[in-house]
Amino acid sequence: MAKQSALRKTDAAAVPEKVAAPERPQAAAAAHVVEDLDKLIHERMRLGIVSALAASPSVTFTELKSLLRTTDGNLSVHARKLEEAGYIECTKGFEGRMPRTEYRISERGLHALEKYLDHMEALIHAMRER
């Protein structure tokens, strides 16, 4: 739990506009939804990693890098956060002499992505119903 709140703190800085309270009272329902948004996968790069892994049983580090058009450093930082949260699993091996890192999504990660999708849908509904 302590780890989770530490992550939230760093993430809040990255996405301040998301947490801002809505100006109009009608948006209260939406605000409620925003409150318990999973910040861990809300961040763009991590959302990309989880989405990619949800589409394929396993994806290698190099594949993810080209899919998400990012750098080694950026990808490994975000992948590690997801791994620490138990959302994804990582296996390191060799293919010939080349190191090969493979990622898979865990049950927990899949569940988190589904919940996040529900959140986004709820947000859209809340705004439509006004």
Binding site: K18, G48, L53, A54, T62, E63
Partner: protein, 190 residues
């Protein structure tokens, strides 16, 4: 941007990332190598044919064989990854890949009728490359890059002596397929 637009945008991002992942895992690296090897064999066989008709027949047969190999390889890879071939990315690829090929088939017929077979190799390479670029636009970058190489080679062939046509086909359909096939297989698994 309102919360609601942001939510829509997030959903779109998730969807696109999933599709991109699916579309590129379907590209068969080793299948490409096999296609390339069959094209090299076809180039050797075609070089012994004296008439344009015999030459064309060999390459036509090779085209059919290559498509069959590619379809089987994609199917195999998609099944291994637990996706069906008819998933959205595969359908998108087929839809953008097919039109340039159909145009190429029609132009082949017209050029043969007009007694201008020398233009055919360059035209094939150019249009095949176009199909790969448009079809692979949403896949990993290496796929459209391969398409661009085919297009460049085709353009070059159009400005070179007709006698080099068969060598251009061997370099493109043989060499480029083998080289990119190995790259894709090693970097992206299979």
């Amino acid at each position: 941007m309102g919360l609601h637009q942001r939510a829509m945008e997030n959903l779109r991002f998730i969807r696109e990332t999933m599709e991109r992942t699916g579309s590129f895992t379907a590209v068969p690296g080793w299948g490409g190598v096999l296609v390339g090897l069959s094209a090299l064999a076809a180039a050797v066989a075609a070089s012994y044919r004296a008439t344009p008709g015999g030459w064309l027949a060999i390459w036509f047969a090779e085209g059919m064989l290559a498509m069959a190999i590619a379809a089987l390889a994609m199917k195999h890879k998609a099944e291994k990854a637990g996706e069906t071939l008819l998933s959205a990315p595969a359908r998108k690829f087929a839809l953008s890949f097919a039109p340039p090929l159909l145009a190429g088939a029609l132009l082949t017929f017209i050029l043969v009728e007009a007694g201008q077979p020398a233009i055919i190799p360059g035209m094939w390479l150019l249009l095949y490359g176009t199909g790969i670029v448009t079809g692979g636009a949403f896949s990993v970058d290496i796929v459209p890059v391969m398409g661009l190489c085919f297009m460049a080679l085709g353009a070059l062939a159009l400005f070179c002596p007709p006698a080099w046509g068969n060598a251009f086909l061997a370099t493109g359909f043989g060499g480029l397929h083998v080289a990119f096939g190995i790259l894709i297989a090693r970097r992206h698994g299979g």
